[in-house]
């Protein structure tokens, strides 16, 4: 029997076409120190590692978990070796392959630059036809631009503890992606009563009607597992851009797509007829409390 101390989880963090955002996001993890006690990075783009990337690129060793960051680009080389070759070598024997970020999961931003060739490792946007099909069963997608550090922390800890990670159809852990970003948003009361935010820079109002907020259509736990432990996009008045979904990045990101003033998309799973009925009725009521500033600094200072 090996104790956990004796056998640390061997992790190789490999990068495709990336901005490094996931690697940096991971460094924000509150319990990074504890996690690093239980893992050994054979190679990480920022953290001290057992091997140099050039050594890993020789493809002579193996890892328990292969983390892939960035879009898959068949022409890309790392340390002078095709990433495709490195990826396939380590994928073969790894117990798990984690695609961190939306680029690795679906293609994301860096698919947009070369849509003909680039993709995620398992998915190409919503289509499941990426290059690592044969390892389908062990791929976990942690989409998000970037990945939330706690999403990755959770996943690695589940693997270390040998617990089963329940995935959704897009291979994302249900624990992290079953609810919508809308869930836990501090503006929910405004959504309920259909009070729009008329412009940016106010804590009042919902960003769904005019500012393009995708939170009711986006899977993720941004408003329950807060970013940097303190906040989220929507709480700070920025619309959700739907960065965990396979169609990220969309266009006209700060505008709500409407047809004859009616939102083109209803919240996930809500029939448009039901949504419009509730909306129309809710809009009828004018809730004075929700139409006024919450705090009046000007007249009380």
């Amino acid at each position: 029997m090996h104790s956990k101390q004796e056998h640390k989880l061997k992790v190789f963090w490999l990068q495709g076409l990336t901005c490094n955002g996931n690697a940096h996001s991971f460094l924000n993890l509150d319990y990074l120190g504890e996690l690093l006690e239980k893992t050994e990075f054979l190679q990480h783009p920022l953290l001290p590692s057992k091997y140099a990337l050039s050594e890993m690129a020789e493809c002579k060793t193996g890892c328990d978990v292969l983390i892939f960051e960035g879009a898959y680009d068949p022409s890309l080389k790392r340390a002078g070796v095709f990433v495709d070759k490195i990826l396939r070598h380590y994928a073969k024997n790894a117990k798990y392959i984690i695609a961190v970020g939306t680029c690795a999961s679906f293609g994301g931003i860096f698919k947009a630059t070369s849509p003909q060739t680039n993709s995620g490792i398992l998915f190409n946007e919503a289509e499941k036809n990426g290059p690592l099909q044969e390892y389908n069963a062990k791929i976990i997608n942690l989409s998000g631009c970037p990945v939330h550090p706690e999403w990755l922390g959770f996943t690695l800890n589940m693997i270390i503890d040998r617990r089963k990670i329940v995935l959704d159809e897009e291979h994302r852990p249900q624990e992290l992606y079953s609810s919508l970003v809308h869930h836990g948003c501090t503006r929910n009361e405004y959504f309920e009563w259909k009070v729009d935010a008329n412009h940016f820079g106010e804590k009042e109002g919902c960003l769904f009607y005019k500012q393009g907020c995708r939170a009711p259509m986006t899977h993720g736990s941004c408003n329950t597992i807060l970013w940097n432990g303190v906040n989220s996009k929507t709480r700070s008045g920025t619309p959700c851009f739907g960065c965990t979904e396979s169609d990220f990045p969309r266009t006209n990101l700060f505008e709500t797509k409407t047809n004859m003033s009616i939102p083109a998309d209803a919240p996930v799973g809500v029939p448009k007829r039901a949504y419009l009925t509730v909306t129309g009725i809710a809009k009828t009521f004018h809730i004075k409390r929700l139409e006024e500033p919450l705090i009046d600094y000007k007249n009380n200072t």
Binding site: N259, M260, S261, I262, R273, G280, T284
Partner: protein, 198 residues
Amino acid sequence: MARTTKEERKNGIISAALELFSENGFYITTIPDIAKKVGMSVGNFYNYFSSKDILAKELIMYISEYLGKNIRAINESDISTQEKIEKIVSMYFDTAKERPEMIEYFLRVYLSNREVFKDGCEGMICVSPFITEMMIFFEKGVASGELHDQDFFSAFGLFMGYLGGMVFLYGEKILPEPLDDYKQSISENIYNALKTRT
């Protein structure tokens, strides 16, 4: 069977009230008038509707549901937006001919006596099934590329205002031709006004 009878009697009150309200107006029509027309006592009437205002609201909801149900069937059929317009126009005019009290009530009572409906029937509350279906119709039309994108109420006003105006002229017996004769040209006018501009 008693329950069915009660339902039928309620529908009887609705039909009678619609006719009286649309012929004589909301304020002139009294509860005894309605009770008399359905052949029940005033006391019994109150078992169905506790006041004239509540009856008025129930009526508009009844009409809204009736129109909404018909438009929903059109929305859910697999036809072009232009054909949907024809069907909506046709349905509306047929209603105006066969059950003129419904359209009359909408135009002469609901839209003309807003004070009656201000409490509990404001905005979309009582007309939600109808407006929702019109929203679905317009949204689908724009999403499919057949209609041009604009403000909902600009489009809604154009469509329903036009139909309401024609039914008014028909009710006043000003139209020289039968209402059916206008279906096609009006449908075309509406479609031309709303269609995608190239």
